[in-house]
Amino acid sequence: MNQPQHEQDQATQSVDTHRRNFIGGSAALAGLTLAPGVVVYGLAHGKTDAEPVTNKVRWGMLIDSGKCADGCTDCVTACNTENGVKSGPLETDPHWIRKVELKDMRTGREQSLPVMCQHCEEPPCVDVCPTGASFKRADGIVLVDRHICIGCRYCIMACPYKARSFVHETLTDQNPDVPRGKGCVESCTMCVHRVDQGQNPACVEACSKAGHEAILFGDLNDPNSDIAKRIASHATVQLRADLALNQGIRYEGF
């Protein structure tokens, strides 16, 4: 019974995606015609500090599990350092990014890959949030507005990727760019404070510093970006694609 509905959803989604690509492409073309260089730069790479984010950009990541080294946790460490997260073994400890080990029991092939907030286009955490604290920014980054969050943790239950954590303890000496506090839900922000300033997220930087280059960050809407080209030419997957959430984080190498 569910199958036809599911197929229909997928069909709808593919049409939407196509339409968005078409519009994005037309806009980029117009930019090129009007003022080469400068305008394309503005369209493709977001904004100055004073401009609000727009949906012309959709930030995303492509994680190559083939390049992700077994046992390396540099991305997790970098995330914790950047955001002041002290993750530990306790169930109550916050986790913004986890290294997941996969093993195919038939072939014995092992893989490891980081899993964090998948920055869905249709985020279930936003759907269920009773206060509007969970929200998706225009550029596709899913965030928690801690000013509004009441700590009900409904979003933690709604997230299929176990990406959200609750802060149980009083915190001090936070990173001034990353306010965090007891009683709120939190998750990967795609280092929004860095992205807004034209930098890469901390995990991406750490991965390339370690020489793995397993995480590619960029604008999915810009057909000329590395990530968009890679996605267009290689087989990539979204985790639990059957949920049709159209995540911004994609994986390849499965």
Partner: protein, 154 residues
């Protein structure tokens, strides 16, 4: 009998009055030297940098919370990060010269006034009370942005 009872009552009354007078005198003598320190006081240090605040002082005293509330939404939801009324800028100017903080005791800038006005101060449950040290220029830039800059040079 009645005379005896009234005599006792009289003695008790005198005793109670004496005790009351003594206790009041003691209380007065113990508080009198501290009268100048009694109650909260406002300690406003001179700001570290700059000639004046982003707005007139009287305006800021009355409206700083509205400015901060407005800008927090602009930053959080729209990603506008160069606003004039930034909490981080407040800290940079008003942090104590002793320990770089704006809260911690009644001598710190934010806490001093909020204690005086008996208004709870929730910002610092999440926000850092310390200013971030100035860092070097961005270590890494977006790959696409770098590519575009390279393209422009051509």
């Amino acid at each position: 009998m009645a005379r005896l009872a009234s005599n006792r009552m009289w003695k008790w009354t005198v005793g109670i009055i004496a005790v009351l007078c003594l206790s009041i005198a003691y209380a007065a003598s113990s508080t009198a030297p501290q009268a100048s320190k009694a109650g909260p006081t406002i300690v406003i240090d001179k700001a570290r940098a700059g000639e004046h605040c982003v707005e007139d002082t009287a305006f800021m005293r009355k409206n700083h919370m509205k400015l901060l509330m407005h800008q927090r939404d602009e930053t959080m939801h729209k990603g506008i990060r160069n606003g004039k009324y930034s909490l981080k800028k407040c800290i940079n100017c008003h942090a104590s010269t002793k320990d770089d903080r704006v809260v911690g005791s009644d001598e710190h800038f934010c806490q001093s006034c909020h204690t005086y006005a008996a208004v709870s101060l929730d910002c610092w449950e999440c926000h850092s009370t310390k200013a971030k040290p100035v860092q070097a220029a961005a270590a890494s830039t977006l790959p696409a942005a770098a590519a575009s800059v390279a393209g422009e040079k051509k």
